[in-house]
């Protein structure tokens, strides 16, 4: 699971979707809907790609650029099903420990060399080697048996694990790096600025801090995508990105709720720009430090959630484009438990819980106290993140009415994360981007306190530990769903986090870009063909040449 600052605009990868603002395919007046070759797409990157080494990549911008440069071993289609990629077929042994992949013989890298089984083995070895600093991928291949993982012939590779995992096949949604390129030089330092992959595009230029230009491979081994070249422009500031979209300098970016509301019914805007709105697999939450003397009590944590008026926030700050979540799974995931009802806003009931726990306002200063200590919680926020700051202030206001003082401390991200990961915090505001597999091991298993895992709230519940362990070794989807629904219920009751809301992504794209579809459960990116089926109508390419050669 990846965390992010909850502003939502930081994440470009979307895995889920909701009904579109308008049905796909009805856009574009007067032009045929038959895709045409050619065109130049300008996409926004919210930050520079620190590395273009697939094994080392970690941020969303890196992921986005790399998705054009590499084909994956197996891919995911819009229905969340695993489909062939570089591997045209695969088998798994009965004990689910040994996988054999048959590679597509036609597949080539952008330098023209074929994709071989040895390249797959090379890539896997790099992923599990700590020296490669593979943060995002190494966990997916824990328990890989290196001595038995080998190429059976040029196009057949065998991968062996010590432990069977239900989501193992999804882990093979990884690029394959050409050994003849990446074995030369120091792997961890030589490949930040160049990339050779098997994907439909290759990188032709990179200007650090400002842009990355990709061009379509003419020797691509599969059917080529329509768009000829893709320019990624690095624009960190979301208001500047919005300006760039309006000025026609970029073709797409993510909008804030306010931008969405202000423009979606403005004809002069919607004649050129179209909104897509969808839910990603992810949510915002307030982690409580479960080891904190005040916050250790689940009843108190539940009562704190009762003080948060999420419906008001959704209506007024998000204009209805967000929804309440109740626990660790979102409504667009199969592990979601629909029978868990949200903790409703009820300050009076919360007050009773606080009173029962011994909190009262004995010095009549408006803040509850117990044994001379005021009921005060410090919330750490990332400095400059106005979206969390606004929500925190609303929460502060609502908590104050229940006699709880919320102290907001704004820190730079480095300081905040180091405090959170070392347990020196009471609460903060974060968001998760969820993986397709619902495994909660890293988040809530008691073996995963920092530095081992991401259970930085120090949640410790033997029953939850047991269910998590069963869940990650159960292969039957229905039985797994039952386990995760039970986990959802227990966690919703214990509230190690205050699960708050799931905000839909508001994505704005220039109407000249056609064929944009978001898939049910997957959103715009991360599925096949996804953005590779976009095209640009010839009549809308007029401004391109101007932009390219003013």
């Amino acid at each position: 699971m990846r965390w992010r600052i909850p502003a939502g605009v930081l994440v470009a990868l979307a895995l889920a979707c909701a009904p579109p603002e308008r049905p796909a395919g009805t856009k574009g007046e007067g032009s045929s809907d038959v895709p045409v070759e050619g065109g130049h797409l300008v996409r926004r990157l919210e930050g520079d790609a620190g590395t273009l080494n697939f094994v080392m990549h970690s941020t969303q911008p890196e992921k986005l650029v790399l998705s054009y440069l590499h084909d994956a071993l197996v891919e995911v289609n819009r229905n969340l099903e695993v489909i062939p990629g570089l591997a045209r077929s695969w088998t798994v042994s009965d004990d689910r420990l040994t996988w054999v992949f048959e590679l597509e013989p036609a597949a080539t890298f952008s330098d023209g060399r074929p994709v071989r089984a040895q390249d797959v083995v090379f890539t896997l070895r790099r992923i599990v080697d700590p020296k490669s600093q593979s943060v995002q991928l190494s966990g997916l291949f824990a328990g890989l048996k290196l001595d038995q993982t080998r190429a059976l012939d040029d196009h057949t590779v065998q991968v062996v694990f010590t432990q069977a995992r239900p989501a193992q096949l999804l882990a093979f949604n990884i690029a394959v790096l050409p050994e003849h390129v990446y074995s030369k030089g120091d792997f961890a330092s030589s490949f930040h600025d160049r990339a050779i992959g098997s994907g439909p595009y290759e990188m032709v230029r990179r200007v650090r801090g400002s842009e990355i230009l990709l061009e379509r491979r003419e020797n691509y081994w599969r059917e080529k995508p329509y768009i000829e070249s893709i320019l990624f422009r690095i624009i960190e500031d979301r208001n500047q990105a919005w300006n760039a979209l309006r000025a026609g300098e970029i073709d797409e970016t993510i909008a804030t709720s306010d931008q969405w509301l202000a423009n979606r019914e403005d004809p002069s805007f919607t004649s050129t720009i179209e909104f897509h709105r969808f839910y990603e697999l992810g949510y915002n939450f307030i982690p409580w430090n479960n080891r904190d003397p005040i916050l250790a009590d689940p009843a108190i944590r539940r009562a704190l959630t009762m003080c948060l008026d999420r419906r008001l926030i959704i209506e007024k700050l998000y204009y209805g484009t967000a929804r309440i979540i109740t626990g660790p799974f979102t409504p667009n995931h199969w592990a979601f438990n629909p029978s868990v009802s949200p903790i409703e806003f009820d300050p009076t009931a919360a007050g009773k819980v606080f009173a029962a726990a011994g909190w009262s306002d004995s010095d009549r200063d408006g803040v509850l106290d117990r044994e001379g200590e005021p009921f005060e919680i410090e919330m750490l926020l990332v400095a400059g993140d106005t979206s969390s700051a606004n929500q925190a202030q609303i929460y502060q206001d609502q908590l104050a009415r229940a006699g709880v003082r919320l102290r907001i401390t704004q820190l730079d991200a480095a300081t905040l994360f180091s405090r959170v990961l070392s347990g020196e915090f009471q609460s903060t505001m974060l968001a998760w981007s969820l993986d397709l597999d619902p495994d909660l091991f890293s988040l809530f298993h008691s073996s995963q306190f920092p530095p081992n895992g991401q259970n930085f709230v120090y949640y410790d519940n033997p029953e939850v530990d047991r269910l998590i362990e069963v869940g990650r070794t159960e292969f039957d989807r229905n039985r797994r769903a039952e386990i995760y629904r039970e986990l959802h219920e227990i966690l919703a009751r214990d509230q190690p986090y205050a699960w708050t809301i799931q905000v839909s992504t508001k994505w704005a794209v220039n109407r000249r870009v056609r064929g944009v579809e978001h898939a049910e459960g997957l959103g715009l990116f991360g599925w096949s063909p996804g953005p590779l089926q976009w095209w640009i109508a010839p009549e809308d390419r007029g401004s391109e040449s101007e932009r390219r050669e003013p």
Binding site: R2, W3, R4, I5, L10, V11, V42, G47, G50, H57, S58, T59, Q60, E62, P130, K131, Q133, S134, V135, Q136, S138, G139, S189, H192, V207, R208, G209, S210, E211, L213, L231, R233, I234, I235, E236, D237, N239, Q240, N243, A244, R246, A247, E249, D412, A413, A414, T415, F417, S418, L421, S433, P451, N452, G453, Q454, E546, R547, R548, E549, P550
Partner: protein, 328 residues
């Protein structure tokens, strides 16, 4: 004089070492693990497993004691090797060298614009204190000065780049222009207009007021009145005698302003996505990119101290009454 220079150079070297020690100490005092930041965990990534973090620390020598880290850095720095930037994953020297021209260009132009407008305004105001020029320019300049730069920048962008579409939004050259040929001169100038304006407008007031106040003081001194009595024309008095005597404070001022040329402006560079030193420095501090922060600190410190040395020598030239390095 040469003895003085020797002492100056010695203290300068000592100051430089002091600066690197303080910066090194400050960076390590600030909470935040560079290894964790390097993995992108803060910008939407997974929290890395401990063995990966250890590998990263080992690779960059962050697992050694602070003393050892500093000494290793200092030994390399003496050979002008400032190590590799953690976040940029390239030599610090390369990263800084790439960014310096951008900041020099932006700040240099802004300074020129501010001086070109500020000095004549200041002289005009000093020539006729209380006149319409004096009062009027004071009000306008202070109106400008009191407008926060980020706000002006955002308004100018909205007006000129989005509404009118006559100037580019941000960046140093059009991405399109660099597709075909290297960004043309006209293109680069267009990109400079808004950031230079934003950087310059507040400083005009500073220079104009500074010149005015220094000039007026000189104009009151006896030798100017003597010059006037002798029949020197008022313009001549103003320029030759008056202005020359404001040279000393002007040199002080230059000593303040020139280091600024390389230090960059965080806010303006951030808004206009100008790839200069200010943004680089800001990002390096936030990313706890120790080698880059130290490298930048050394570069800016060397420039500042060189300028300061020159300024002190110039005092002697401009004002013979000041004897440089005179001990007591």
């Amino acid at each position: 004089m040469s003895g003085y220079l020797g002492r100056r150079l010695l203290t300068t070297a000592a100051t430089l070492i002091g600066i690197t020690l303080v910066v090194f100490g400050l960076m390590h005092l600030a909470p935040g693990d560079p290894a964790l930041l390097l993995t992108g965990a803060v910008r939407g990534g997974r929290v890395p497993p401990p063995d990966v973090l250890e590998a990263i620390r080992a690779e960059h020598g962050l697992d050694r004691s602070l003393g050892a880290q500093y000494l290793a850095w200092a030994a390399a720095a003496l050979r002008f090797d400032f190590g590799d930037s953690l976040a940029h994953r390239r030599p610090v020297r390369t990263v800084i060298a790439e960014r310096i021209p951008a900041t020099l260009l932006l700040n240099g132009l802004a300074l020129l614009v501010a001086l070109a407008i500020g000095i004549p305004l200041g002289v005009a105001a000093a020539a006729r204190p209380g006149s319409l020029v004096d009062r009027g320019s004071a009000v306008v300049l202070f109106l400008l000065y009191s407008l926060p730069a980020f706000w002006v920048a955002l308004l100018l962008i909205e007006l000129f780049a989005v509404r009118l579409g006559v100037l580019p939004l941000m960046g140093m050259s059009s991405s399109g222009a660099s597709v075909g040929r290297a960004g043309g001169l006209a293109d680069r100038l267009e990109h400079l207009v808004l950031p230079v304006t934003v950087l310059a407008y507040g400083q005009i007031a500073f220079f104009a007021r500074f010149v005015r106040s220094a000039l007026r003081e000189t104009l009151g001194t006896p030798f100017i009145r003597t010059a006037r009595a002798k029949g020197a024309g008022s313009i001549r008095v103003l320029w030759i005698h008056g202005f020359r005597n404001t040279l000393v404070p002007l040199i002080s001022l230059a000593g303040l302003v020139i280091p600024w040329l390389v230090s960059g402006s965080v806010v303006v560079e951030q808004i206009f996505q100008w790839d200069g030193i200010g943004r680089l420095f800001f990002g390096a501090v936030l990313a706890r990119d120790y080698p880059l922060v130290l490298g930048l600190a050394v570069v800016t410190a060397v420039v500042t101290m060189a300028v300061s040395l020159c300024a002190d020598l110039l005092y002697a030239v401009a004002d013979p009454r000041v004897r440089v390095g005179e001990g007591r």
